[in-house]
Amino acid sequence: MAQELMLEKWSSAISVVNIGATKEEGGSRSKVIKVGGQATLPFLFPEGSIPNKPVIAFEIWDSAPMDWPDTLKQPFADVLNDPLKWAKKCVDDFKAELLCLKLQGAHPDSGDKKPDDEAELVERILKTVDVPLVILGCGDDAKDNLVLPACSEAAKGECCLIGSAVQDNYKTLVAAVLADGHNIVAESPIDINIAKQLNILISDMGLSVERIVIDPTIGALGYGLEYAYSIMERARLAALSGDKMMACPFICKVGQEAWRAKEAKAKMTEFPAWGPEAERGIAWEAITATALIQSGADILVMRHPAAIEKVNKYIDNLMTNDKIPMSK
């Protein structure tokens, strides 16, 4: 006898954010990445449509990272000093669909690069590769307010995703993104109320909520992962039940957090019981990503190509067309 199932009826869906603009749309990207649009909770296909898969953005830096462990540097050893080559390697060798340029070198403590130089870099990356671009500032509010508008202007018309707007520093970035036709990352410190408040503030300035991607501030596996996990679940439940101000896709900085974990970095000589660091680091990044994909992540910013390959395969398996038999 067919078992009667229990389907939730959601009244609303997550908004779709388009990242990248092709020639027809006034940009120069080879394709547009669409994220969001889900009308149900993660991967409950029989209950509602899930039009777009979660995508991984390869994280690249404007300057060679100093504190990355060897396991992580190794696949990019020949290009870490050259963001253009690094970008090209991600796209050509690792088939990246989306890049995330982290402007770490603009930070006053780690290079203090000038806004003009960063803007030029953005321009050159856009000429070197044709995938859509995410651009993230260095996190120093004052500096980001100089650097990000310059980069935004340099990428005008390319419909990038630029971040991050935070509760007490969002106006400059919103204005730049509005002027240049991009999308914005709204970052909140593991707090659903601040996430919502910030979205309201941003949309009050005239940037439609359909152009916002939420960064809920994740922790790595073992380092507070469960906080963002539950914040994301709560936000999704609210969004699907009709809260428009929560109905944005999520971006999760998986690589940044996972590779800070001791379990990802430490050598086996230090912790023999943990097993070889090569596999362990990749696993740490991949499992952090897996859990967040299951709580609703739409864009995962990741670092290690092997972890990215595994997570991409996992996503592809989830998104295959074959129907889930509703009853068997």
Partner: protein, 442 residues
Amino acid sequence: MALSGLDIYKLLPKTNCRECGFVTCLAFAMQLAKKGVSLDKCPHLSDEAKSKLQASSLPPIKLITIGEGEKRLEIGNETVLFRHEEKFHHPCGLGFIIEDSEADEQIKKKLEKISQLKFERIGQQLEVDLIAVKQTKDSKRFQEVVKLVSQNSGFSLILMCNDPGILKEVLPAVAAKKPLIHGANAENVNDIGKLAKEFKAPVVVCSKGLDDIADLTKALSSQGAEDLVLDTGVKSVKEKIWELTQIRRLALKKSNRSFGYPILISIDAKDPYEEIMEAATYIAKYAGIILLKSIENWQVLSLLTLRQNIYTDPQKPLQIEPKLYQIGQASDKSPLLITTNFSLSYYTVLGEVEASKIPAHILSVDTEGMSVLTAWAAEKFTPEKIVDSLNKAHAKEAVSHNKLIIPGYVAVMSGDLEEKSGCQIIVGPKEAAGIPSFLKNL
């Protein structure tokens, strides 16, 4: 599912005879809903009402115990679909499948390796729970391997065999260890049900999908085999997520007793990363037992850590002992940093201090497990509290410089804290990630 006072009232005689000690049936119903009175105080209940009310007080997902003694595994008794609604109660069991076709030496090596899979994280001991012995050979060999495993390890056992004849021969020797029989299917359900009852062993219901679960669980419980675990077989991850979600929803939201049991999943992926990514998915989505094939330390460490995360009580954050911690070869010249006793705050600060390679003292202030900003807002991280902790831990005596580094987020308390503590206050970075460069430039 718990009934409301009004739901209960509808089942009562509504005569207001007062024999229960309450003035009205409604008053009695309200107390019953709050579990403030026992059902048998009303002598006039119909049998139907009685059974409905009794059933409603049972947990919607049954608690199942596998194994005995300290290492026994308890799973089930879950009450929510999302951990923020309450919490996930019983961490899923992780185990490994060993086949009876493997050589004794190889099995012993595996057991040795499995028994060493122990990790301490944030003050908790993380361990795996189960070994499943899979029957592929004859009864004699299966018995040998079951014996080998049960003598060489303290893990709870799963007997993966659907031949009632073989199980009947193997069970007498291990029944006292309360193994989980895996399992009952449409063909053998009656025989397995009898064995489960006779040996008081829990049983896995091996169904093809969702449609045949209810028939099987009813067949078993009608025979007195009531400790059940569900297994819907090897399927694609998305199909599995759907089934797991349906089973949990049917049990919790529809009070469907046929689905009110924990779920077992065997992972069949070949690639070691795929294997743990699948397992991770099911840790998050309602699995009660997950069985793996490969046994690499890094795989198990990452899965046990995820289990720890998902099963943390969202209302009761993990805390550490509030005291003064020495990091590296800290001397009286080393900096003294202040943070909360919320495990995550402390371990994040610790990680960054360690990464800086600068020895330091960290004072964790008792904020009842709240993070810096939350504790500050709740007045659990105030100058008074910090001074109190400084005194209790004799922290000022541990350093000769009389300087305190406080988190950047609470910079506003500097003046007040300086006055109350008599120390010089240095405002540290807002985010822990800034600690290494901060300490280097100190």
